[in-house]
Point group: C2
Amino acid sequence: MTQAPTTPPAASDSSAPKGLEGITAGDTTKSRVDGVNGKLFYCGYPIEPLAEEGSFEECVYLLWNGELPNAAQLESFTADLRRESTVPSEIWDVLRPLVKGSTQMDLLRTAVSAMSAFDDEVADTREAIDGRDEIERRIANRLQARISTLVAGIYRLKQGQKPIAARDDLTYAANFLYMVTGEEPGEYEERIFDAALTLHADHGFNASTFSARVTAATEADIYGAITSAIGTLAGRLHGGANMRVMRMLEKVGEVDKAEAFVDDVLSQPKGRVMGFGHRVYKVEDPRATVLRRMAKELTDRTGNSKWFDMSVKIENRVKDKKGIFPNVDFYSASVYGSLELDPEIFTPIFAVSRTSGWLAHVLEQHADNRLIRPRANYVGHGERDYVAKADR
Amino acid sequence: MTQAPTTPPAASDSSAPKGLEGITAGDTTKSRVDGVNGKLFYCGYPIEPLAEEGSFEECVYLLWNGELPNAAQLESFTADLRRESTVPSEIWDVLRPLVKGSTQMDLLRTAVSAMSAFDDEVADTREAIDGRDEIERRIANRLQARISTLVAGIYRLKQGQKPIAARDDLTYAANFLYMVTGEEPGEYEERIFDAALTLHADHGFNASTFSARVTAATEADIYGAITSAIGTLAGRLHGGANMRVMRMLEKVGEVDKAEAFVDDVLSQPKGRVMGFGHRVYKVEDPRATVLRRMAKELTDRTGNSKWFDMSVKIENRVKDKKGIFPNVDFYSASVYGSLELDPEIFTPIFAVSRTSGWLAHVLEQHADNRLIRPRANYVGHGERDYVAKADR
C-alpha cells in the first residue's frame, strides 16, 4: 500500500474518454441537433425559416417560452427588451481602467460579472424559492437587452470612442449595428445580421452553454452563469473560431489565391483549414447552409463579394481534398466581414446571440435543478506515506 | 413528421441521468476521493498528515508539481508567492462602485476577471504554443498569491475599511488572517487555519473545478477558468454551504438547544440539517474528521468552545436519527466561527484554498486538452412547421 516517493505513478486500468464526447449530460427542451442529417431545431422548429422568415426577437421568445409569440406577445416582448437596454453608467467606469490590457471578451466577462451589483432582484434568486422563475425571467430580459449595448460599447471603448446609447425605434439586430457604427444599417444588412443572430442562438450542450448550466446547478445566479459562459466562449476552440476564420481570409488576401492557400495548408503535417468540421455534425452544418445562401444574396446586392467568393473557393477545395464540411464559423466570418465588422467583435457578437440560449438553459436548469458533479478517473501516484520536510 | 403547434411535447424514451452523477468525465493525477472508505489523497498522500504536519504552501506545490518540495524548493516557492501578493491598485478602483450591491463572492468574481487586464503574459496562453505550461505556472503563482490579498481586501471593503497590504514575513495562512483583521494570529489559530486551507484545496471533479476545466478546455485562459470556478463555487449547493452551517449555528444560539433544534428540523416534511451528507462520501468525510480533531484542540486552548460543542451535539443527534455523516462544510463552519471570522467570508476563504486545486486542474487540462462538450437529451416539442406571425 505504501510506496516510496520514487515509485512511478499508478495508472488506472484505462483512461476515461476525454471531453465527455458522446456522453449525455441531461435533458433539454431547447434545441435538437441532428448531427447525422445536418439538421437543427429550436423547440421543434427547423432553424431555416426561423432565420430567414422570423426575427431574432421571436427566436429569443421561442427559446424562453417554448412557443413562437403572436403579434401582441412579440410587441410586448420587444418593448421589454428596449426598455432595459441601458447599461448602468458605473459599468463604463468600471471598464475604463481595463480597456488597454483586455480583449473585448475579457471586458465583456468583467462587465457582466459587475452588472450583478446593479440588479436589485438577483439576491432573491439564490434559493429555489417559489416565484424564482418569474424573477429570473425579468433578469434574463434585462441581461439580453443590455448585452447588445455592452458589446457595442466595449467595441467602441477599444477604438477610443464613446459608447452609443440604444435607440427605441430599431430592431435588436439593427440597434446593435447602429450602436457599433453610429449608422443605421441597410435593410438587407439588418436582415442577414438578424438571421446570423438567430442561427447562433442555441446549440444543445455546447461548451459555453454547458458551463452556464454547471455554474447555475450549484444554485448560483444568472450573472454568475453567464459570466462563466462568456469566459468559456472566448476560447479559440469555441467562440474564437469565426475570428480566426476571418484572420485566415485576410491572410489569403485575394480570391485567386484561395486554392493555392488550401493546398499549402493541407500539405503541412498538421495543417488544418479554419472553420471546417464539427464534433456533432458529420455532414454540413445547417447554419452554414443558411449563411452561405444569405451571404450570396447580400454580396450580389452590395457587390462587396470578396470574402464570400474566397470562402466558396476554400470550401470547395477543402471538400474535394478532405471530404469535410464548413461549420457555422466559416460562413459567419465572411458574412460579418462583408458587413465590414472588425474581426475582433466576431466572438462578442456570438455572445450577444448565444446569451439567449444560455439564459434559456439557465432557466431550464433552475426549474429542475441538480448539482452537476461528475467523477474523475484518478491516474496519479499510488498511495504513499507522508515524508517530513527534513527527510525529503 | 410535421405536427400542429398544439401537439404536446414529444418526450424521448427516457430521461438522461441528471447532474452527471457517477459519470467519469476524464482523468486526473491530482486528488483521489475514496467515497466508500472515506479517504482523500492528494497526489498519493493522505490528507491527514498533509493538513496536520505540512503547510498549505507545501500542499499547493504538491498539487502543481506532483511531488512534495524539499526545503530549498519550498523556500523558493514561498518567496515567489510573497513577491506576487500585491493586487494592482486599479483593481480596488474597479471594485469600489460595486461594493454596495455585491456579495463578497460577486466582487471576487469580478476582480479575478478584471485582473487579466494587468497580466502581460496571459495573451500568450490562448494558443497551445510550446512553453505555454511554463507561462501558465507563472500566472498560476501570481493568481494564488493575489487571491488571498483580494479576498481579505474585499472583506474589508465591505466593512467600509481599507485593504491591508500583504507582509513578507508571514506564512500564507497567517498573512491572510493578518490582512483580514490587521492582527497577527496566534500560533494555533494559524495552524488550524493553514490545515483548513489544505483540506479544502482539491477534491476531484467537484462542480467548481469541473467548471474551470470546461472553460479551460476551449483554450480559454486561466483568468477565464478561475472566474467560472468562483461563480460556480458561490452557489449554495457548493461553496455557500459552510456559511449556511454557521447561520444555522447562530440560529440555534445555545449549546443546550442543539438537540431540540435537530429534532424540530427533522420533524418537518423536507427538513434537512445543513452540513450533512455528500454525493461522493458514503461514510464520514475525512476532512470533517481532521477538522473536528483540530477544532477540539483549538477550543481546548482558547476556551472559545461554543460553536464546536454545539456542532458535536448536532452531529451526534443527526447520526442517531438519520445515520448520515457531517461533511467538510459542517466543521469548517465551527472552526472559522471559533476564529471569529464573519460567516460572509467563509465561502471566499474556500475560494482562496480551492484556487490551488482549480489552477492544478487548469494546468492539467491544458497539458492534454480536449473540448468538453457533452450531448443533450432532447425531450422537447416534436418537429413542426414554421408559422408566419400573422397566422399565430
